[in-house]
């Protein structure tokens, strides 16, 4: 993680974080401005643009008929992919995905899948033969840090507005007919993620790219709320430093409040 950043910047950030300060004037636990826009492509079943500070990410949902897995003949499939294109950052290069490009969709996948937000059992077209595959495709347009949390919000919103297309007699998607049915989603489950970053003994949320690159460890929690109960559905630690038990307990206890802050902005889409 501590790549491509001057030691001098890292030391400066470490000293500032220790005093509870950041370059952009935010508090350590303060999120950047969140903007959400929907329907950015009328060809997608659902789509959204999320801006978190200067980080911008686009997510589109497409549905396609596919084959079910042999052990779940009536269950639809969920596939999350991300493309870290050179447009979004001087750090990205064309070619086979680096680890960040593999981890991002896996984390979004797990936050959504484990929350059970999508009822995949209702996405069967013909048992044993044809089921819907829900594709969540993530395209960062400008990576200024905390892509994972931004992508999670975009995926959630895009799923909430997505429609299931009509299907022809031959079993193909009928692009001429208007899609009317909503995706089978659990109404009250809205998974998002929160990533915490550690530098020295300080922990921050929603880092800019510069801050993220200075940090030694990250931990991402997938969080949902069901019947007024908060649930951690997924979690992954990254980086060469560790977290103490106390730090992990503290971050867990911060999750409900962070969730409500984001939820405030999400309400009108859910």
């Amino acid at each position: 993680m501590a790549m491509d950043i001057a030691n001098l910047t890292k030391e400066r950030l470490k000293a500032m974080f220790a005093e509870g300060k950041r370059f952009d004037g935010r508090k350590l636990d303060e999120l950047r401005e969140l903007e959400i826009e929907t329907d950015i492509s009328n060809k997608a079943e659902g789509s959204a643009r999320v801006r978190l500070g200067k980080t911008e990410v686009l997510v589109g949902i497409k549905l396609g008929p596919g084959e079910p897995y042999p052990d779940s003949p009536e269950r639809g499939n969920l596939t999350v992919s991300a493309e870290l294109m050179p447009i979004a950052s001087p750090r990205y290069q064309a070619g086979p995905p680096e680890f960040n490009g593999i981890e991002l969709p896996r984390l979004v996948d797990r936050a959504i899948r484990e929350s059970k937000m999508i009822d995949l059992d209702k996405l069967c077209i013909k048992a044993g033969e044809k089921v819907w595959t829900v594709y969540i495709d993530i395209f960062p347009i400008n990576d200024d840090g905390n892509l994972i949390d931004a992508a999670n919000i975009a995926a959630l919103v895009a799923l909430k507005i997505a429609r299931v297309p009509e299907i022809t007699k031959e079993g193909k998607v009928d692009h001429d007919k208007e899609a009317k049915d909503k995706l089978p989603l659990s109404k009250d489950i809205a998974p998002v993620s929160f990533s915490f970053f550690k530098l020295g003994n300080s922990i921050i949320v929603d880092p800019t790219r510069e801050e993220a690159e200075a940090c030694d460890a990250r931990i991402t929690f997938g969080l949902s709320k069901s019947k007024d109960k908060y649930l951690i559905n997924s979690c992954q630690k990254k980086g060469e430093a560790y977290f103490t038990g106390e730090e992990l307990a503290k971050m867990s206890s911060m999750l409900p409040d962070l969730y409500e802050q984001v939820n405030e902005k999400l309400k009108k889409f859910l």
Binding site: E114, L231, C235, S253
Partner: protein, 236 residues
């Protein structure tokens, strides 16, 4: 409401563990670690000069972990070669081990850790980390401490340790939660934290303290394996 564990274990009881150091004679260090039917082997090669040269770091040695399942270690044959899951586990294993390693002593080098799962019954990443930690110690790499790893989990509402495959697939009530962690043996320092399932944020401290206790038992098995090897070598 408590559910009986399929193999009759208590909630804080790990599966039978076994460990052995020195299982790959060609390697600089190696070990086997098993949680019940899950068997992992790990081998360490290095520190050795990293090639290609442009990947070398003059300020430190590099740790490179490769984790994979053998094709016949799971019910449905796994296509040989690393998939994305294996790549992710390789990465989180590196991060789990790095905090105890003194790699600054070996500039421009790489330490390769190869982890293979011979038989899988859940808990393969945790068994792999335990084996790798032993193999690194066996290879004589300077380490601050051993790393111990175990999964805590939830069966419906109850916290349990070291889930078997059958427990991982539990679907009643709140279903199953898998919460694998790794910890520096003698320090309040968690170096791997992953989770799939659902757990209330309030339960995290309790789950971590259960995991820390289970890690002490893993540590005992690891220490014994190292001691046995030292004694075996002394005997010639």
């Amino acid at each position: 409401m408590t559910h009986k564990r399929p193999d009759g274990r208590k909630s804080d009881e790990l599966r039978k563990m076994s460990a052995k150091v020195g299982v790959v004679p060609n390697a600089d260090g190696s070990a086997m670690f098993a949680f019940g039917d899950t068997v992992a082997i790990a081998a360490v090669y290095g520190p050795r000069l990293l090639h290609p040269q442009h990947m070398q770091d003059p300020s430190t040695g590099i740790l490179r972990v490769n984790y994979d399942l053998l094709s016949f270690s799971v019910s449905d044959r796994k296509k040989p070669g690393p998939n994305r899951r294996a790549q992710e586990i390789s990465k989180v294993t590196e991060w789990a081990l790095l905090p105890v390693l003194e790699l600054k002593e070996f500039p421009n080098t790489v330490i390769d850790v190869q982890i293979y799962i011979i038989q899988a019954d859940a808990g393969t990443r945790t068994a792999g980390i335990n084996a790798a930690s032993l193999a690194l110690a066996h290879a004589g790499i300077p380490m601050k401490d051993l790393v111990c790893s175990v999964a805590v989990g939830k069966q419906d509402k109850e916290l349990i340790v070291d889930l078997s495959k059958e427990e991982e697939d539990f679907e009643e009530g709140e279903g199953a939660t898998d919460f694998p962690i790794a910890k520096i043996a003698n320090k309040d320092a968690f170096t791997l934290v992953q989770l799939d399932g659902k757990i209330s944020p309030d339960l995290v401290p309790e789950a971590l303290s259960i995991a820390a206790k289970a890690c002490e038992k893993v540590y005992d098995v690891q220490k014994k394996a190292l001691k046995d090897e030292v004694e075996r070598e002394a005997k010639g």
